[in-house]
């Protein structure tokens, strides 16, 4: 990126003694008249040395000692593990999209990582097979690239070079960016892509006078690509791209009023933007998943998150079990029934009855319990019986069950019928209890069985109306009450062994009422012992392992990633809420050596973060002040300054808010690092706002130089203090300083920071 630089024609030593080497301006200055004299095969190069120096400084600060500590740090636990899964081709499930982990997998693969290291817990030492340094190099590099990018963006917004230097320095001096970029984490990629998006927007706007030129296309495409990539790393990366997209569309809307453009041209413009900012990103995003699913073909420990048919399409795992199973469920089948949606569990019964009385004096039927059990178990087996015949054996040829057929289900171990009746269920008294029927003879007469169930295959449109294993999604509708079998989502207490409650419900159309057959075999012999043994051989072997189309898998994965509740646990030790972020009320412990002498924490540079948050508020205040005054036709700043001020706010405050505000409505455990994508924009705003102050001061006192010099001096002082704060908290970033209690106490800027104190 740094080769595409802009000439800094301005003097840089303008009263700010921050960087002495700023004076070394040796750029070609003939760029302005290039259109008039076209020479063949001429390369005009401009090199902005300031930018390169800044980048080198960033490299020097960020890169040393990347492979320390040589053990698992924070979320490396997941990202490193998943990279290993890619190399091993084992399927895994994660709620973040795959691109970030693919990058690590690729680096690991190139450097000879075999993916076998077991990521058991934070702090576990890496063995020699893991190329730690190489894998950490990439995020560190992208973290360093933020520095010249910020510089570029500031210049592109029409600001002074020193503002660019300030912005870049602030990026270097933030502890959180420093820590976050030095480990196998995802935020620095997102930050990189988001900033490139913003830069592309600025460049694209600049090129709007020559539409459809190469550069115009380049920057437009880059906007789309970075949007897709940022989103494919973490969904948090979506918002910058969205905001940039909205701005592009608004620019287009304003372009409509340009009468020199014909309708046709306008259509081309529209089409180009939609192509590059909608279609290309969508294709890229789906493409990432295509690669993801084509690599991960083997089953692994994460299978259970997915549906049976998804699992069956993976090598090993369920596919190994279900291979060779008869395809169609018939009278005489032995089956296990799995709840299709939600966390996996299987319809289960065992030789225990419901307690006679519940807590509030409500009685039960005292029949045998039916539950949904989250583990594979011999008690999950059920026999499918034809109500009209007494035989439990498969007929020859097997009579397949179709949509609408009536069946009875017999629990395999206890041979009792699945039954439901007008008794309130244990935990959900509004629903009917489900039990396996025991032929009680009470004083007031025998209880009657209600054990007929209608098979309602509701995906019969796509998968046929024969009850097939895995594919068919069925509802079991109780014939007598017309209610459907479902899990209530509640857990039974101790007498039910904390298994999940099963009830019937009048409402059929709900996910909890959907079941599918997972394991399946035919009962061949009427003899009970033989029935238990003669299980595996079967005819009607499915000819091939289940093949699922890419989009079927893609949609299932998407739905699971976006809509399933992953951790309701909102009480993580280092969790924090968005309101606590701007003033760093919580840190995140990333790593601690076993004796806790060495620790790494994610904390921001307190001075920088606080000033940044103050600038955000000051900017809003100043903006409202100007707006109200302008409404009364009182102009405090020149039109140019006003325009710069508004544009900067729109871009930077907009992207900042777009990356921060959405977290207020998220309902999961969040950490300080969720704030990091917004952080570079805040820092940019700080730099730009500083420039505005300087300009404002020199505007109101054009005759004196001292106010301006005073302000500049204050800013230099502030920058030095930021630098000092950075070095102070650097001890928490590297894990190389021996942190005794006094030292920790010294670094404890806020009481709420949670360090690990040695005792």
């Amino acid at each position: 990126m740094e080769s595409m630089s802009k000439v800094g024609g301005m003097q840089s030593g303008d009263g700010t003694p921050e960087k002495g080497d700023g004076a070394s301006e040796s750029a070609g200055t003939q760029g302005t008249s290039s259109s008039s004299r076209q020479k063949m095969l001429t390369v005009t190069a401009e090199i902005d040395l300031i930018q390169i120096v800044l980048f080198v400084v960033a490299l020097v600060v960020r890169l040393p000692g990347l492979d320390h500590p040589r053990s698992v740090v924070f979320d490396e636990l997941f990202f490193g593990k998943f990279a290993g899964h890619y190399i091993q081709k084992t399927f895994f499930f994660d709620m973040h999209p795959p691109l970030g982990k693919m990058i690590y997998a690729l680096v690991g693969y190139w450097c000879g990582y075999n993916g076998k290291f077991a990521f058991d817990g934070i702090g576990k030492e890496y063995d020699a097979s893991v190329p730690v340094w190489q894998m950490r190099l990439l995020p560190a590099l992208s973290g360093c690239l933020l520095v010249p990018l910020v510089y570029q963006i500031i210049l592109q917004m029409g600001c002074h070079q020193m503002t660019g230097v300030l912005g870049a320095l602030l990026i270097i001096c933030d502890n959180s960016l420093h820590v976050q970029s030095r480990f196998m984490l995802l935020e620095s990629f997102i930050q990189l892509f988001c900033l490139v998006s913003l830069l592309s927007l600025l460049k694209f706007r600049e090129k709007s006078y020559s539409p459809f030129s190469c550069e115009w296309w380049f920057w437009l495409t880059l906007m789309g690509i970075t949007w897709a990539w940022a989103t494919s790393i973490k969904y948090g990366g979506f918002f910058t791209g969205l905001f940039v997209f909205v701005l592009v569309m608004r620019d287009y809307w304003r372009m409509l009023s340009d009468k020199t453009l014909s309708d046709r041209q306008l259509f081309y413009h529209f089409f180009a933007r939609v192509l590059m900012l909608v279609i290309v990103p969508v294709v890229l995003y789906v493409g990432v998943f295509y690669v993801h699913l084509s690599i991960l073909t083997k089953s692994g420990p994460y299978d259970a998150n997915m549906s049976s048919r998804f699992q069956a399409s993976l090598e090993g795992g369920l596919a190994a079990i279900t291979k060779g199973q008869p395809l169609e469920v018939a009278y005489g089948s032995q089956i296990t029934l799995r709840r299709t949606h939600g966390k996996p569990c299987w319809l289960h019964s065992h030789n225990h009855t419901y307690p006679r009385w519940y807590d509030k004096g409500r009685g039960s039927s005292q029949q045998q319990q039916v539950t949904c059990y989250s583990f594979k178990d011999v008690n999950n087996w059920w026999l499918v019986k034809d109500p009209k015949s007494d035989s439990l054996v498969i007929s020859s040829p097997p009579k397949a069950i179709r949509h609408g057929d009536i069946v009875q289900l017999l629990h395999g171990k206890t041979l009792r019928f699945l039954n439901s009746h007008n008794v309130g269920a244990a935990m959900s008294p509004m629903n009917q209890e489900v039990s396996t029927f025991i032929d009680y003879n009470f004083t007031n007469g025998r209880v009657e069985p209600h054990n007929l169930w209608k098979v309602d295959i509701f995906n019969r449109e796509s998968d046929g109306d024969v009850w097939k294993i895995i594919q068919s999604q069925v509802r079991l509708v109780h014939v007598d009450s017309k209610q459907a079998l479902k899990t209530s989502g509640k857990q039974l207490p101790e007498w039910g062994f904390h298994q999940l409650e099963v009830v019937t419900d009048a409402l059929h159309a709900q996910n909890a009422a959907v079941w599918n057959v997972e394991e399946h075999r035919y009962t061949k012999s009427p003899d009970e012992k033989e029935r238990d043994q003669d299980l595996t051989r079967a005819e009607l072997i499915p000819t091939q392992p289940t093949q699922l189309g890419f989009f079927t898998k893609f949609w299932e994965l998407q739905a699971k990633m976006l809509f399933s509740q992953h951790d309701a646990n909102l009480d993580h030790r280092y969790g924090s809420s968005p309101l606590e972020w701007p003033l760093i009320e919580k840190n995140v412990a990333y790593w601690a050596s076993e004796d806790t002498k060495y620790q790494i924490h994610l904390v921001g540079n307190p001075l920088l973060w606080c000033s940044g948050s103050a600038v955000v508020i000051m900017y809003c205040g100043t903006l409202s002040f100007y707006l109200l005054r302008r409404r009364r036709l009182l102009f405090d700043v020149s039109d140019d300054m006003w325009r710069e001020f508004v544009t900067a706010g729109e871009l930077l405050l907009g992207t900042y808010a777009a990356n921060y505000v959405p977290y207020f409505v998220v309902d999961r455990t969040m950490f300080l690092h969720h704030y990091l994508p917004a952080l570079p924009f805040m820092i940019l705003l700080v730099a730009v706002f500083c420039e505005h102050i300087v300009k404002f001061v020199s505007n109101i006192s054009p005759n004196y130089r001292w106010p301006k010099i005073l302000v500049l001096l204050l800013m230099v002082l502030w920058t030095v203090l930021v630098l000092a704060a950075f070095t102070k908290y650097l001890d928490l970033c590297h894990g190389k300083t021996h942190l005794v209690a006094e030292k920790l106490q010294h670094l404890q800027w806020r009481e709420s920071w949670d360090f690990i104190y040695p005792m």
């Binding site: 009468k259 419900d505 409402l507 309902d667 009481e751 690990i756 104190y757």
Partner: protein, 768 residues
């Protein structure tokens, strides 16, 4: 920017030139008025003069629309015409008729009547209770009950219980009357927005014929009241806005006050009323912005406008809201089943509570037995029990925890550092900075801390029970440090203090963490070296000491403001607790506009099912899509500077701004639900639905009138009436089809061929 500059220049010239008084813009008044008003706020209409002079055939045709409006609405919209008045009366009558028809049926408790009826009864009985909603709605229900002879004796135990002799009809009828007002209000809202009688009639008709709104209005629920206040606020605000040309007149003040009062009522019924406050707030900001831009007025005038709104739209509602709470606390003075949610001081004012009229010493002395409560919200009692910290977690000494229930293990004896208390000791009250020891009364161990890690918050020191019956070491000494009232002795309940460990200089703190199973999941107590934490503040709650004189606890009774704040904290906690469980069927916001699933109000033989009239619901969606298309198309035309007649342009601008305002209202009442984690119900959508339906009426009216843009005059005229007739007849017929939803469905379910609802189960998800 260029445009802005131009505008500024123009405004500047206007400032210098003639300063005409502010004109009502876009109000679509008489021809004369419109001519004067041609220079509108945004200065878009520079071409007026030119356009007016161009004779155009279409202009004449467009006058048909004017004619329709004039025929029914009259030329000066301020003066209600006979047609307008007739409409208002007809709709008032019809809405009362539909809402009161079969009001007694079903004769049993329906759905949430079990809650709100019960709470109404509690007001009548003056029994204290806890609810997540503010009090106004339930107070009104209680009032309705008293007015109509209900004595508050019915238990409202659960839905489906027969009322028997209970006077429930009065409460239902009065709720239904509030609910009926929604229709005439919507009629006038649309009238104020568009001055088109057709649109007003359409809006009122569609809302009248919606089964969902009907059902929701018929029972003892908060929703009819809420809908009434929301529509009332909107209406008052629009009335107020319509007087913007003559500010500070009597009517202006009256309607402004009315708006404030209505807003207060809306938010005091349910917090959903906040959305209408937002709507009015945003509109007011826009209004003030316009006033600020009127350079012919000086700043004093603008400040007056600003202050008037601050007082009547912010201060007045806040005061009213608090007044409602004051009444709530005044009325409910008997102990009920909601006591446990509130603090000790709060409970002491409830008749029948154990703490009511109780008495105990005012201060404590060496030798007193005390319970010590943490002062943070949700703080527990300092507690210990005869169990040790487990090995490997902390040093194995007796646990000290925080426990939230009253228990004899919460009792501590206050002792001097060096001697055991003797009952005959002279009374020596405890003061600020006294050094004490605290002995746990049941186990006789002393509160102790030392240089060891606390079990969970490892940067704090451990707090334990140590020694036995007075033996111990120097780590048992604590300094009591009062936060205020330093110069006097330390009182109960009100004085807040810290317990500082002498040796380690740390403060006893209840951390936010819970101990695991070995600590019985009680809260962790630690000694915090950073003693600024607000969780390290404690107060004495109960004192037992025979030597000290008792005073009544009543002196601790909280002030109104304290009760007000406390009940809000408790309400917020209650609302947070309403989380759905996994697999529980909950209603989700996406289902609402498409009428995906209703809510069973009454089962059994007289079935009532809360479901919107699907034709109107789906119609609203279609209209929304069509409007988006039309709006974008028109926006593009405007961006491309297509020439348009002034009249047409003005008409469109006025209509579109009305549409956008209603759309904003709909979005404000609907979209926030997407972000809520709590349990949601279908009836949350109905405020939004009302706005959406009014929006539909305005858009339909516009679409029908825009026939004149596309067709010759005669054809347009005919099509216009045909369209109107079609809309009305479809609405009426759909209501005829679905009216059993509200007026009781009997017999078998809809999928049975003999059912009266056969063929009407259009979606599988409807339980009819």
């Amino acid at each position: 920017m260029a445009k802005g500059g131009e505008e500024n220049k123009r405004r500047a010239t206007r400032r210098k030139g003639i300063s005409t008084p502010a004109k009502p813009t876009g109000s679509g008044g008489s021809q004369r008025e419109r001519d004067i008003v041609s220079d509108d706020q945004n200065g878009q209409n520079q071409n007026h003069q030119k356009d007016d002079r161009v004779p155009n055939v279409k202009s004449k045709l467009f006058s048909d629309i004017r004619q329709i409006d004039r025929q029914f609405g009259g030329s000066t919209p301020r003066v209600p015409t006979l047609y307008w008045l007739t409409g208002l009366l007809v709709f008032s009558f019809l809405s009362l008729a539909t809402r009161l028809y079969k009001i007694c049926e079903p004769t049993h408790i329906v759905w949430d009547e079990t809650h709100f009826g019960k709470m109404g009864s509690w007001y009548i009985n003056r029994t204290f209770f806890f609810d997540v909603h503010p009090p106004l709605g339930k107070m009104m229900i209680g009032l309705f009950g008293t007015m109509t002879g209900y004595d508050g004796s019915f238990t409202f135990s659960k839905p489906g219980i027969e009322y028997g002799d209970t006077e429930y009809v009065g409460m239902r009828a009065l709720c239904a009357m509030c609910g009926s007002c929604v229709i005439p209000l919507s009629y006038d809202i649309v009238w104020e927005l568009t001055h088109s009688l057709t649109a007003a009639v359409l809006a009122a008709t569609l809302i009248l014929l919606d089964t969902g709104t009907l059902i929701l209005s018929q029972y003892i629920l908060l929703d009819p009241l809420l809908l009434f206040f929301i529509m009332g606020s909107t209406h008052s605000y629009l009335k107020f806005y319509s007087y913007r040309a003559s500010p500070f007149t009597l009517k202006w003040w009256v309607w402004l006050t009315c708006t404030g009062a209505m807003l207060a009522c809306a938010i005091s019924v349910k917090f959903v009323g906040l959305f209408v406050v937002l709507l009015v707030g945003l509109s007011t900001i826009k209004d003030l912005w316009d006033i600020l831009g009127d350079l012919s007025q000086n700043m004093g005038y603008i400040v007056n406008h600003f202050l008037a709104r601050v007082v009547l739209l912010i201060v007045l509602p806040v005061v009213l809201y608090m007044v409602f709470f004051a009444i709530h606390f005044q009325v409910l003075i008997k102990s009920g089943d909601g006591d446990g949610f509130y603090s000790t001081a709060f409970q002491s004012r409830l008749i029948g509570n154990r703490l009511h009229n109780a008495s105990m010493p005012e201060a404590f002395a060496f030798g007193s037995v005390v319970t010590i409560k943490n002062s943070a919200v949700g703080g527990g009692y300092l507690h210990s029990h005869a169990h040790l910290y487990p090995e490997g977690v902390s040093v194995m000494q007796q646990q000290v925890t925080c426990y939230h229930h009253k228990d004899f293990n919460n009792e501590w004896i206050v002792m001097k550092p060096n001697q055991m208390p003797v009952p005959e000791d002279p009374v020596e009250l405890i003061k600020h900075n006294d050094i004490i020891r605290l002995m746990h009364k049941p186990t006789l161990r002393t509160l102790h801390s030392h240089k060891e890690r606390a079990p969970i918050t490892s940067r704090h020191y451990q707090v334990t029970g140590y020694g036995f019956n007075g033996s111990g070491d120097a780590n048992d000494f604590w300094r009591i440090e009062a936060i205020d009232g330093i110069d006097t002795h330390i009182g109960t309940v009100k004085t807040v203090f810290k317990l500082i460990h002498i040796n380690r200089n740390c403060a006893v703190t209840q951390t936010t963490k819970k101990l695991p199973k070995w600590g019985y999941e009680q809260s962790e107590v630690s000694c915090n070296p950073h003693s600024t934490d607000h969780r390290s503040l404690w107060n004495i709650e109960e004192i037992t000491d025979a030597r000290l004189p008792n005073v009544s606890v009543a002196i601790y009774a909280p002030s109104f403001l304290q009760m007000f704040m406390e009940s809000h904290k408790v309400m917020a906690q209650g609302n947070r607790g309403l989380k759905p469980k996994e697999d529980e069927v909950t209603s989700q916001p996406w289902q609402w506009p498409i009428d995906y699933r209703g809510q069973v109000f009454s089962g059994a033989s007289y079935r009532v099912y809360l479901l919107g009239n699907p034709v109107i619901f789906w119609g609203n969606l279609v209209v929304l899509v069509v409007f988006s298309g039309v709006y974008i198309f028109n926006g593009m035309k405007k961006q491309r500077r297509c020439e348009e007649l002034v009249e047409v342009k003005e008409y469109k601008e006025k209509t579109f701004s009305a549409c956008l305002w209603l759309l904003l209202a709909w979005a404000l009442h609907y979209l926030p639900f997407w972000t809520m984690g709590r349990v949601l119900y279908f009836h949350h959508y109905f405020p939004a639905f009302l706005f959406s339906t009014m929006f539909t009426a305005v858009v339909l009216d516009y679409l029908l009138k825009s026939l004149w843009f596309w067709f010759p005059r005669d054809v347009a005229w005919n099509l216009y009436h045909l369209g109107l007739g079609l809309v009305f007849s479809i609405a009426v017929y759909s209501f005829y089809l679905f009216h059993p939803l509200a007026y009781g469905m009997h017999g078998p379910l809809a999928n049975n061929e003999t059912s009266t609802m056969y063929g009407l189960k259009w979606l599988e998800t409807w339980d009819i």
